[in-house]
């Protein structure tokens, strides 16, 4: 490791196997729309990558309200994969993706489906545009009745799905793991064996909130997914566990609110991070994470941010 003088530039590029990012800061699927929603707040082209809102073949209306609720240092959501569907994505959202891709931000499609065939169809359709940098298989949405986390919690189904999607593309294939499994490292190993290039984790935790006075659940779907700082320590442990289990790069996420949280994920073994819930709280968080990581590298004399990955010093 070379030690840069204070004030010199830190190399912020990271290489995640076949996926190159200009910096390790991304935004998590479902928290950043299709990139357009945050344009008035900052230029999303500064991001290393964007995970687009989950796409399904047909449009999905999503779940009935109420869909979100605040919990201690966290939030529950049950959006239900509401999205415009793949064809309207091409009509209305793809141009801005193209614009961001042209500026070097990796636009990653998050794919959700009920069947293996539908995942394959999504990939096939998206292969027709050159603005998508990678596919993230959403096998871990806790908020839909069918096709949500069934793939992400059943080792056999997970292996079949990844193996079936793999031949359909040469683009990087990312599997987004569910946290509600006994052994997340095993799910990572299965994904990699079946052809995944990158592991991203974690998705939200299945969770619920109750209104005791009304004796009713708060969310219309009864349960939802827990995100935010409340889940960060669990997410860190899972990134650390997956790091021990597989050799492919990891994109870490779960409650990242600032650069320090992001640095912790990198130290635990992630090569890049995704900001999620913090986009709702403080929309310029990704910008501040990027600046903070640069400053951290300078202070600790890392020439490259990639040197942080797995640099945890164990007792």
């Amino acid at each position: 490791m070379s030690a840069p003088a204070t004030g010199t530039n830190v190399d912020m590029q990271v290489t995640l196997g076949p996926l190159k990012l200009k910096n390790p800061v991304m935004t998590a699927s479902g928290t950043f729309g299709y990139g357009t929603e945050y344009r008035e707040l900052y230029d999303p082209a500064i991001l290393g990558g964007v995970f687009l809102k989950a796409l399904t073949m047909a449009p999905r209306p999503g779940n009935k309200p109420w869909r979100i609720y605040e919990t201690p240092s966290g939030m529950l959501n049950s959006i239900g994969l509401q999205n415009v569907g793949i064809e309207e994505f091409f009509e209305k959202k793809e141009p801005f993706c193209r614009e961001l891709a042209g500026k070097g931000t990796a636009m990653c499609a998050n794919l959700a489906a009920q069947t293996v065939e539908e995942f394959q169809q999504l990939v096939e359709r998206l292969e027709t545009t050159d603005c998508i940098a990678a596919y993230e298989l959403n096998v871990s949405c806790p908020n839909v009745k069918k096709g949500g986390c069934q793939f992400g919690t059943d080792p056999t189904l997970l292996r079949e799905l990844v193996a079936a999607v793999r031949p359909g593309t040469k683009r990087p294939l990312i599997v987004k793991l569910a946290p509600q499994v006994t052994d997340v490292a095993e799910m990572a190993r299965i994904s990699v064996d079946a052809g995944a290039d990158i592991i991203s984790l974690i998705n939200t935790f299945p969770a619920m909130a109750i209104d005791a006075e009304k004796r009713r659940p708060i969310l219309a779907t009864v349960t939802g997914g827990l995100s935010g700082p409340a889940i960060k320590p669990i997410a860190l442990r899972m990134v650390y566990a997956v790091r021990q289990a597989v050799d492919v790069p990891i994109i870490g996420m779960g409650g990242i609110m600032n650069w320090k949280d992001a640095a912790e994920f990198l130290l635990a073994g992630a090569s890049a991070v995704a900001v999620g819930t913090a986009n709702f709280v403080h929309p310029t968080t990704p910008v501040e994470v990027l600046e903070g990581l640069q400053d951290y590298c300078r202070r600790h004399r890392y020439a490259r941010v990639s040197d942080l990955t797995g640099a945890l010093e164990l007792p």
């Binding site: 928290t31 008035e40 707040l41 209306p61 999503g62 009935k64 979100i68 605040e70 959501n77 959006i79």
Partner: protein, 279 residues
Amino acid sequence: MTDRATTHAIGMEAATPPLSNRHFRGQVVEAEEIAPRIWVHGYRLPEVARRAQPGQFVHLRLNDGTAPLLRRPFSVLDVYPGDGVARILFKVVGTGTQILAGKRPGDDIDVLAPLGSAFQVPENVRRLTLAGGGIGMVPLYFLAKELTAARPGIELDYWFGARSAEEVYLLEDLRQWCKRVEAVTEDGSAGRKGRLPDYAQEWRGADMIATCGPIPMLRAIQATTADWPVPVHAALESFMGCGLGACLGCVLDTVDGFERVCTEGPVFDLRRLNLEVPA
């Protein structure tokens, strides 16, 4: 409309530069408990004061920590563009509003604003009924004030619904702008006794109705006015995430499917809403 140079004198130094076109840091210049648990806050936010319209909201971060985590949306009460001040009115109901009520003049405030849709009053409306339940009065107060300035001759009727007399406030202001101001309280301790929708028949003759309040109240008004040949617009509230249209957390059901309170709303054509869910 007079500017309140004296009350807003604190924090009149140059405003903090905007973080972006929608994200601002301002200062509290006014904090007054005008009725039990009812607070009016004035914030020095020149851009918001210049741009906010009745019905729109500000999305406030309550502290720098993670509890409470999410921002809270507050309807704009009024603006003083000359002073660069925008005001909100809120009721202390939980942890978030308790923290907000602890802010004092000089404290910083972080806002996303102005957000959402505004009340659109067609040019041909000559007589407008405003019906606010509880703190649902806030966007209607702003609307009454703005219309009085912008449309001389427009006739405004204001109906203020509350549980009791101590929850009725700012009537003196409303009387300046409205031809008729009626209070309706559940216990009859101020104005008429009952609930606001009980008196909806008296709103016949208006060219438009603008309303805001709890969902059961809106549902009752929706039913009563269903076949009236005039527009009925309502400002809605919801649990909210980003406030920017990204999280899709704040939707309500409409005749055209789910729509976001933060982006398509908070002002909706009341007849388009399916208010059966949520309760």
